[in-house]
């Protein structure tokens, strides 16, 4: 479980680094936000959202509103990674929860 979360987190930071090299545009932000929103929708359907995902999306929007698209894209990527990690958690737990039952 933890390993998956870490993998996702690493993937997210790599994306962040890759995009930071060139200044991001409003369109970059829109694309990143759309991807994050899709992941969030899937997490919602899996009934397993994290509060931190929503926090990142808020931060992304705030940065975009201020015209800071580098920052906005970074937060949107982070939100997407967190949403995907919560989906992975839900999937994994479907199999793992019975191991925790008191017997």
């Amino acid at each position: 479980m933890h390993r998956n979360l870490i993998k996702l987190a690493v993937a997210a930071s790599c994306l962040t680094l890759a995009t930071a090299a060139v200044a991001a545009s409003a369109d970059d932000y829109k694309a990143a936000a759309a991807k994050a929103e899709a992941a969030i929708k899937a997490a919602h359907a899996a009934r397993n959202e994290w509060t931190t995902t929503a926090d990142e999306m808020k931060a992304a929007k705030k940065a975009a509103d201020a015209g800071n698209f580098d920052e906005a894209v970074k937060h949107a990527h982070e939100a997407e990674a967190l949403a995907n990690a919560s989906i992975a958690q839900a999937k994994e737990q479907e199999k793992l929860w019975p191991d925790a039952v008191i017997r």
Partner: protein, 280 residues
């Protein structure tokens, strides 16, 4: 593992409960194991004391509680709830018309499986169903009106043993199982299940709070919490337990919360209602 499951299935089959065998759900066996776990882990805690949540785990807290309970902070809510309970709806009917025994001393029967809708009905949901059936607006599940009414209804049931029924209906068993799953499923960015805190760590501190044991954990609902500066319903409590692990809470009384309440209350069968409670 598989052997255990097969063995359990065989035992169930022999005791002629075909529904249970077919679904692989055995509430009775869960009940026994759950109780054994807590009574063996806390041999000094009298069985009926588990319903006092954190106080059952901590001597210092217990002393504080005894002092608080001389002027119980939930008393105002109980009085208010009584008045609300006795005030007729606009159509002249009252809550008494919606509940068994006119709504007095019935808290221990909830959550109840409703064969008509096929759903688990908590006391809070039953109250709102009653209101709506009589043309009144439902109360917010997390706010003071609901807390006051449930506080009064719990108060009239104090000491009565929890009495949750799981009818031999595949939908009831499915709801129970879903509740069990919700209880043991890790969630939130911190990756905790309800059990991580209330099974693995009762009595341990989390920030300034002492964790309550899962056995009898709903018997004291609703509660007054100094940290909240007021009363909180079961919904309020469960939602904040989700946020603590950075999980987005579900909407109040969503099926998952009702089902986990069903599961936990069944585990508490026989233990006395202690609500409303007062917490630091």
């Amino acid at each position: 593992m598989l052997r255990k499951v097969c063995l359990a299935a065989a035992i169930v089959a022999v005791t002629a409960q075909p529904l249970l065998a077919a679904s692989g759900v055995d509430p009775q066996a869960d009940f026994k194991a759950f109780r054994k776990y807590f009574t063996e882990r806390f041999p000094k805690v009298p069985l009926n004391d588990f319903v006092n949540g954190p106080y059952s785990m901590d001597e210092g807290l217990r002393k504080q509680w005894k002092a608080i309970d001389e002027f119980p902070p939930y008393e105002f809510a109980v009085d208010q709830g009584k008045q609300m309970f006795e005030t007729p709806f606009k159509n002249g009917k009252t809550y008494a018309d919606c509940f068994p025994n006119k709504g007095i001393g019935v808290r221990q029967l909830y959550p109840m499986f409703d064969e008509k809708s096929g759903e688990v009905v908590t006391l809070d949901v039953a109250i709102n169903k009653c209101r709506e059936a009589n043309g009144e607006k439902p109360y917010d599940y997390s706010k003071d009106d609901m807390a006051a009414l449930t506080a009064y209804m719990a108060y009239t049931s104090r000491g009565k043993p929890m009495d949750i029924k799981i009818p031999n209906d595949p939908r009831a068993l499915a709801a129970y199982k879903a509740g069990e799953e919700y209880f043991y499923t890790r969630r939130g960015q911190l990756n905790f299940s309800c059990a991580s805190c209330h099974v693995q760590n009762p009595g341990n501190h989390i920030r300034s709070e002492v964790l309550a044991p899962a056995l009898g954990i709903l018997n004291a609902m609703p509660i007054y919490r100094s940290a909240w500066g007021g009363m909180g319903t079961t919904s309020r409590r469960l939602r904040s337990c989700n946020s603590q692990v950075r999980g987005t809470p579900l909407s109040a009384e969503s099926p998952e919360y009702r089902n986990v309440e069903y599961f936990l209350s069944y585990m508490a069968n026989g233990l006395p209602i202690s609500g409303p409670g007062a917490r630091p």
